[in-house]
Symmetry: C2
């Protein structure tokens, strides 16, 4: 067995609430074909399979999505589908995946952690970036990928660049999503990169940092039974924390390599528009920055409205201004609380 | 035969283009149930039947709407359905209806002319107003109904009030739709009323003013064959002019009575909202002045958008800002030119 082989861990557990009504409980956005040519999950898995082989791809998702994930990735080995009985945030998810790889004998391998909802191109730039990150990972660093900002986005975390460690740099600090004044400062300073939320590290280096900075979670993870489908009793008690807050902001091993690719975080409808999502027949008049997503086969006509998304599904028409994109989560939660069958 | 009986002439010939996509060629808005409790045409006819009896109601519409009009008004005598082979504007339509009444022996009767797309209430105030107008009509005046403006609307014509002639006033002048500065002046002066577009006059007084101010049209109308369905050859050559421009602005017999009712001209989607139109299930969040009209049984959700109409039909979703309401006509014409089956 080649202990030096690489693995990809794709986090595909979210509900994609902000993509309602297209994204629903039964079919979250990672299982949707938003960009054409395959679902978000399929495209992400395919991108990584080029690097790791199908055997090297692990997908972590909700136990309720077992069938849809397996159907969408027919070549994924069954043991590589890790099923969370409940979401416990990224630290638990990534820790469990790392522990799973260690148990399978790959403690010294490099693992690449990524979300399932990023648009990335071109592929060769992506692979070059991963190769650079792998070099640093093999030296024991916890490596992230930084995107050169082209606008003062407030929807991303930022990485402050520190001392050079070829082919990247140390991360001097992690910054949460800034306000727009701060984002503007970050942009003009040239000292900051967007945090892509991808991580590249050796399984063992990561687990030892996890043990150091989140000892309780680490202990609970190593005691999990050896299964790809832990019980709610076992998994549900894991500490729920983000990997950024729990480990990355605390470790002194964080480094960053610059991305040699274009990246979009397809996190909400306006983000989807930025990534080129537009589906269905539409007629857009006197309107700028609009997005149409239609699954009904009807014509969508937008007249005299800027920065708006119009999403039509069999059950719902959503018309939303960009500035309200964050409200969707609230709205879906309210519908959920009422027992609505529309979510 | 009681020569003093009254008649109502309901103009129901329009395409209702500005209500696309709900209003289509096959079913223009006057045949739609926009407000609940009956279509616009049915409600208008019912309002007049209270005054004139069903025998006294005449409907002028397009020949292609013969069946839908007859179906919606099963009690309308067949001879009271006047079918235009093509629309030739209001002067020809009203002139033909008046000539038809004269041929039937009602030259001395009062006729009330109205569009089929006005929302009017309460009924008793309407009837009182018509009674006042009838008094002036019986004295030979061409009477209009003026609505006291409550805002500087630019979408209506205005009537300047002149010398009192109880129970109304002479019309000093007719003003076309004003710009907003002018509308504001009209409003604050207290000298102006909105032109409701309703007319009340004796058949003979009107025809003699038509002869005086539009002699060519008059001559052509009296030569029309005696039928409720003239040929395109006969009717299509009539001069196409509005009654306001052709007769009302020129006659010295124009008077106005004030309306004792609330009136909305349901001329476009924002106007429909003003009249209380809202149909279908909706969820409206952080949004003011929105209208939802859904015929698909789906839920319409509007988030963070003001002054917007969302109209869903089996074939189309229209999302439009109020300020673009006038664009619809243009859009429908463009689709028509392309041979679209959506209009």
């Amino acid at each position: 067995m080649n202990k030096k082989r690489r693995f990809a861990v794709i986090m595909a557990g979210g509900r994609g609430t902000r993509f309602w009504p297209a994204s629903t409980k039964a079919r979250p956005k990672q299982f949707m074909d938003l960009l054409g040519g395959g679902t978000m999950l399929q495209k992400t898995a395919s991108r990584f399979a080029n690097i790791t082989g199908a055997e090297g791809v692990l997908v972590v998702t909700g136990a309720n999505y077992k069938t849809i994930a397996a159907n969408q990735l027919p070549l994924l080995p069954e043991k590589n589908l890790l099923l969370e009985p409940v979401g416990r945030n990224t630290a638990a998810c990534i820790g469990w995946a790392a522990e799973t790889l260690r148990r399978r004998g790959f403690a010294e391998s490099v693992m690449i952690v990524a979300a399932s909802d990023h648009k990335i191109e071109p592929v060769d730039g992506f692979e070059k970036t991963i190769a650079n990150a792998t070099m640093l990972a093999e030296s024991g660093y916890l490596c992230t990928i930084g995107i050169t900002p082209d606008n003062p986005a407030t929807g991303y975390g930022y990485l402050q660049i520190g001392e050079e460690i070829k082919p990247g740099n140390r991360v001097k600090s992690f910054k949460e999503k800034p306000d727009s004044v701060t984002a503007e400062k970050y942009l003009t300073s040239g000292e900051y990169l967007w945090n892509s939320g991808m991580f590249i590290w050796r399984v063992d280096s990561f687990l030892s940092e996890l043990e150091k900075h989140m000892p309780d979670l680490y202990k609970a993870i190593v005691q999990l039974p050896d299964t790809t489908a832990p019980s709610l009793e076992d998994y549900g008690t894991l500490e729920s924390e983000s990997i950024d807050y729990g480990v990355m902001e605390k470790t002194d091993k964080a480094v960053v390599v610059p991305a040699h690719f274009k990246w979009s975080d397809i996190g909400d409808w306006p983000g989807a528009r930025g990534a080129g999502v537009n589906m269905g027949e539409s007629l857009v008049i006197d309107s700028e920055n609009s997005l149409v997503f239609d699954e009904t086969g009807r014509l969508t006509v937008i007249v005299g409205l800027n920065n708006v998304s119009v999403v039509s599904t069999d059950k719902v028409t959503l018309v939303m201004s960009d500035s309200s994109a964050q409200k969707i989560k609230e709205l879906v939660n309210a519908l959920d609380a009422k027992g609505s069958d529309l979510i």
